[in-house]
């Protein structure tokens, strides 16, 4: 993945609790090869009418939010299916970070693995932030993974909580498979002992 250290970008308020991964990318697009880019599938059925025209009431179709690189969401964003395609769609569209009170569990992990920063902030802070973004004019948010600080448009600073392991992986753009293969001797010795104890596990 590409390394992420800090980013200052326009943020858009994204309303609705329990926005599931089927909304982020409908399943029919998961048949498409990733190399073509998933950006145009992002929120497809919320963004477009069935004839392909843009729905003007959708936030990412509106100015200035169509240029947003950070989304500020509500509770349980990304719940549902494990499809990493949801994160590909956000990333390929250009979204660098999400700020919300809570995220779907598998989705949260998928974000970390693609260097898309999921930031959890308290419910009230996020609700107020969405209102501020809607009202404007200040709509830029800074996310600094190095100092673990989020700076909101009103200048308030918030602690960016993130698992230290994943923080380091993302800052260095580490390939975690490579990292784990560094533990190969430990895996092999575990496996030898474990499979000897649990002979029934082998096929």
């Amino acid at each position: 993945m590409d390394a992420f250290i800090r980013e200052t970008a326009l943020a858009a308020p994204f309303e609705g609790s329990n926005v599931d991964t089927d909304q982020i990318i409908p399943a029919r697009f998961l048949k498409v090869d990733r190399t073509v880019g998933y950006g145009s599938f992002l929120f497809h059925d919320l963004k477009f009418e069935s004839d392909g025209t843009e729905r003007p009431d959708f936030v990412l179709n509106q100015q200035p939010f169509r240029h947003a690189r950070i989304l500020v969401t509500d509770e349980n964003f990304g719940c549902g299916s494990s499809r990493e395609g949801a994160v590909y769609a956000l990333s390929d569209y250009g979204i660098k970070a999400l700020i919300g009170p809570s995220f779907g569990d598998i989705f949260y992990n998928n974000c970390l693995k693609n260097g898309l920063i999921p930031v959890r902030l308290p419910h009230d802070v996020v609700a107020g932030l969405r209102e501020d973004l809607l009202r404007g004019p200040d709509r830029e948010i800074s996310i600094d993974l190095d100092s673990q600080v989020v700076t909101l448009p009103d200048g308030t600073l918030h602690n960016l909580e993130i698992d230290p392991f994943w923080r380091e992986c993302i800052m260095k753009g580490v390939d975690e498979v490579e990292l784990t293969l560094g533990y190969l001797p430990e895996i092999e010795s575990f496996e030898a002992r474990y499979l000897d104890e649990m002979k029934w596990i082998n096929r």
Partner: protein, 468 residues
């Protein structure tokens, strides 16, 4: 004496390869199920880095999400689906992974196939690039969905980087009333917890009503653990578990079987083990459930009416639920039994097993699907299909006017040609009623197989406790 542990604690501890000071663990994975949609990029990643599948024998590949449920002996018409299916076949060949193709009798939905083959066993860690991997928890296996990056990680290393989750126990006491099933238990639980209630937890299901369920019923419950936000569901293995698994093709045999059972008997949560969160439900008070909205937490008794979102105090939630009603084309106060249907879908990894089909056959034998309804039954696997046909269930279904299809995920997620048209309303035995899940602008009501069967006949929802 050792500290009492939960079943989750025990299985997790037994698989820790390495634990860092910050709690990050490297967890050994016993079984990896692979399907065509979430794996292509993972295999491609291996190719690009020149890596192998570390333990092909612990990996099983099967096509399910994309395959048509019509005759497929002449190939797959949709070009994108055909490519994805062929890619899995090629990857399985290249990396030496056992593979069930779309013409193999053993093919089916991964979460039906794993248990059916005895590939799923108690005490194991099991992963798959699919959130409904929680299904396998019904056997006392720690099983959960992973993303494609993690699929690649498991293929290459046979491990997963994990932090320990919290322990949640749901106890369902008492005896279910007639007409109320495993599906109604899990939908009721999600109604209580909400879709985020289980986030960060592994949810163990216990109590008299859970013990009384068949393995199929237990799979239905664990299948939807993810719909309550929990990554995994767990039910302690017992005699029913062992009876289900014994002599399955990939289950251990002879002495290995005996050794396995001795180990499995140690897995149940210890008396006094600590659960971070607890919930208790009384089975006797549960009704047949119908979902009315676009989240699995939007549950109501079949005897009830569509709720009024204006009674919800929190503004954001009130707006979300009004939006759901608008999408569903429903008004507050409408009786559930006044909701008429266009389609009925019976199948999926939640309710596409032989027991589900037997229940449906019993409900519809000698009756006819309502004129206004188009109803399809999609068996969970080729083996379920054969079994149903051996019992003559297909004849009952066809005589009643149901469409009897080939196995796959089908209209649970509408990746193949099986989908709702905009505005169509469907009673579905699947697991998600999200907007567009079963087709663009399609409207999904989640119900049990018995409720779906009765709805197909009546053309509207009926209370199966008093119907017929």
């Amino acid at each position: 004496m050792a500290k009492p542990r939960t079943m989750y604690d025990k299985i997790f501890d037994a698989h820790v390869v390495d634990r860092q000071d910050d709690g990050t663990c490297l967890l050994y994975i016993d079984r990896h199920l692979v399907h065509e949609v979430t794996s292509p990029q993972a295999f491609e990643g291996l190719r690009l880095t020149g890596r192998q599948v570390r333990q092909p024998g612990k990996t099983l590949a099967v096509v399910d999400h994309n395959v048509p449920t019509t005759d497929r002996t002449h190939g797959i018409e949709d070009p994108e689906s055909a490519i994805q299916v062929e890619t899995l076949a090629q990857n399985a060949r290249d990396f030496g992974v056992e593979y069930f193709n779309e013409l193999d009798t053993r093919q089916g939905i991964v979460h039906v196939v794993g248990p059916e083959q005895g590939f799923t066993l108690p005490g194991m860690t099991i992963v798959c690039g699919d959130s409904h991997t929680s299904t396998h928890g019904a056997f006392g296996a720690l099983a959960h969905g992973i993303g494609t990056s993690e699929v690649e990680h498991v293929l290459a290393t046979q491990t997963l980087i994990q932090n320990k989750a919290k322990n949640y126990r749901v106890t369902v006491d008492g005896v279910l009333p007639e007409g109320v099933t495993a599906k109604d238990i899990i939908l009721s639980i999600i109604g209580e917890t909400g879709t985020a209630g289980g986030t960060g937890h592994v949810m163990e299901y216990a109590g008299e009503a859970i013990r009384a369920l068949s393995m199929e019923g237990r799979m239905t419950v664990c299948n939807m653990a993810i719909e309550g936000g929990a990554r995994a569901g767990l039910i302690a293995p017992d005699e029913k578990t062992y009876a289900y698994l014994k002599d399955r093709p990939k289950a251990p045999k002879g002495e290995a079987w005996d050794a396995a059972v001795r180990y499995w008997e140690t897995l149940a949560s210890d008396e006094g083990a600590h659960f971070d969160t607890e919930l208790r439900l009384d089975a006797a008070s549960l009704p047949p459930i119908v979902t009315w909205g676009t989240s699995p937490e939007d549950v109501i008794s079949v005897a009830g009416a569509v709720p009024d979102p204006d009674r919800i105090p929190a503004e954001n939630k009130r707006i979300s639920k009004w939006r759901a009603l608008d999408y569903m084309g429903l008004k507050p106060g409408t009786k559930i039994t006044d909701i008429t249907l266009d389609r009925v879908f019976i199948g999926s990894c939640t309710n596409g097993r032989i027991e589900d089909l037997r229940v449906v056959a019993k409900m519809v034998e000698g009756k006819r699907v309502h004129d206004a309804v188009s109803a399809m039954i999609v068996p969970g696997s080729g083996i379920v299909k054969l079994q149903a046909e051996a019992e003559g269930l297909d004849k009952i279904f066809r005589a009643a006017g149901f469409d009897w299809r080939e196995p796959g995920c089908s209209m649970c997620l509408a990746m193949n040609a099986d989908r709702l048209a905009p505005g169509e309303r469907c009673a579905s035995t699947s697991n998600r009623n999200f907007e567009g899940r079963q087709g663009f602008k399609g409207r999904t009501h989640l119900v049990s197989p018995a409720m779906a069967a009765a709805a197909a006949i009546a053309g509207r929802f009926v209370d199966i406790r008093t119907w017929g």
